[in-house]
């Protein structure tokens, strides 16, 4: 109910922030070695942040559904899994475009990229299981959601644990000191995309709720 009241004001704020983001990105300073292509970072990093949040939501909701049997948690998990796939797809494609220019290759089977790809496949599998798994598929999907959530920390730390072509996590921690203007733009875009992700999640949960209402009504009508 609160979300429904907040939806339109949040939508307006998010739209305004999205409209301003190209100006902020254009005004951000160039990175010294990669120059223009580094500007992909301003949506690439926020997309992975949005994915991290949606994976966390899916994992927690899946665990609540699996161990407590809460049907609403299952609907939240289904919504979050779909959003994970969408942001993961953008993260992989934008990373590939960036890599083609920065590394000279579209794809590299190193630890970070391969693990990110596997995470995307796990959540894509979640959606397939839910849609085509037949009766009881929700529980199997919930287990996949938990498994996907357990994979996420390995994706994040892979750049620190193994030798990869991808920059390390320390890039973000030092960015505030090395280039405060870039740091501000990154976090502005991150906040914008997180707000947008919240709106998508709310809309997607509403869809699951309406589907559940319709199913319940048909079942009641049959009895």
């Amino acid at each position: 109910m609160v979300m429904r009241k907040l939806f339109v004001p949040m939508l307006v704020i998010t739209a305004a922030m999205f409209a301003y983001s190209p100006i902020a990105i254009a005004n951000a300073p160039y990175e010294s070695t990669m120059r223009l292509v580094q500007k992909i970072f301003y949506y690439h990093f926020p997309a992975w942040m949005a994915l991290t949040v949606s994976v966390t939501v899916c994992t927690v909701a899946s665990a609540v559904y699996l161990f407590k049997g809460n049907a609403r948690a299952d609907r939240i998990a289904a919504a979050a899994a779909e959003i994970t796939v969408i942001f993961g797809l953008f993260g992989l494609v934008s990373g590939s475009l960036w890599g083609r220019k920065a590394w000279g290759v579209w794809w590299q089977w190193d630890a970070r990229l391969t693990m990110a790809f596997l995470l995307e496949l796990i959540f894509f599998g979640y959606i397939l299981v839910r849609n085509y798994g037949g009766p009881g598929a929700e529980k199997l999907a919930a287990a996949m959601g938990i498994f996907g959530g357990a994979t996420a920390p390995f994706v994040y730390k892979s750049v620190d644990w193994w030798r990869t072509v991808h920059p390390k996590t320390s890039v973000m921690t030092t960015l505030g000191e090395t280039s405060p203007q870039m740091w501000y733009v990154v976090w502005f875009c991150t906040f914008t995309i997180l707000l947008f992700m919240g709106l998508l999640l709310a809309a997607r949960i509403r869809l699951e709720e309406q589907r559940a209402t319709l199913d319940r009504l048909y079942l009641e009508a049959e009895d």
Binding site: V37, L97, Q210, L214
Partner: protein, 91 residues
Amino acid sequence: MLRRISLALVTFMLVGVTAFAQPPQGGSPDGFVPLSSLPPGEEMPAAPFVVGAYAFFLLLMLFYLWTIWNRLSKVERDLKEFERRHGGATR
């Protein structure tokens, strides 16, 4: 003995020629040129990649929003249809 001497000579010639061989001057034989020494006109342009990434984001999100709106409209239409047929409250 003669055979050993001739074998030693051939070996010395082969190894010696290789050891004293100089890399060809004025460019790498495999065509490799360091990125920093490329002339500006031959560098891969960055703009198509940046524009491509942001255009993909826009299209992907518009498509996803459209699918949510489409699915939600269908379910709400079905709910209204159910309400019309059964004449009761649905929520």
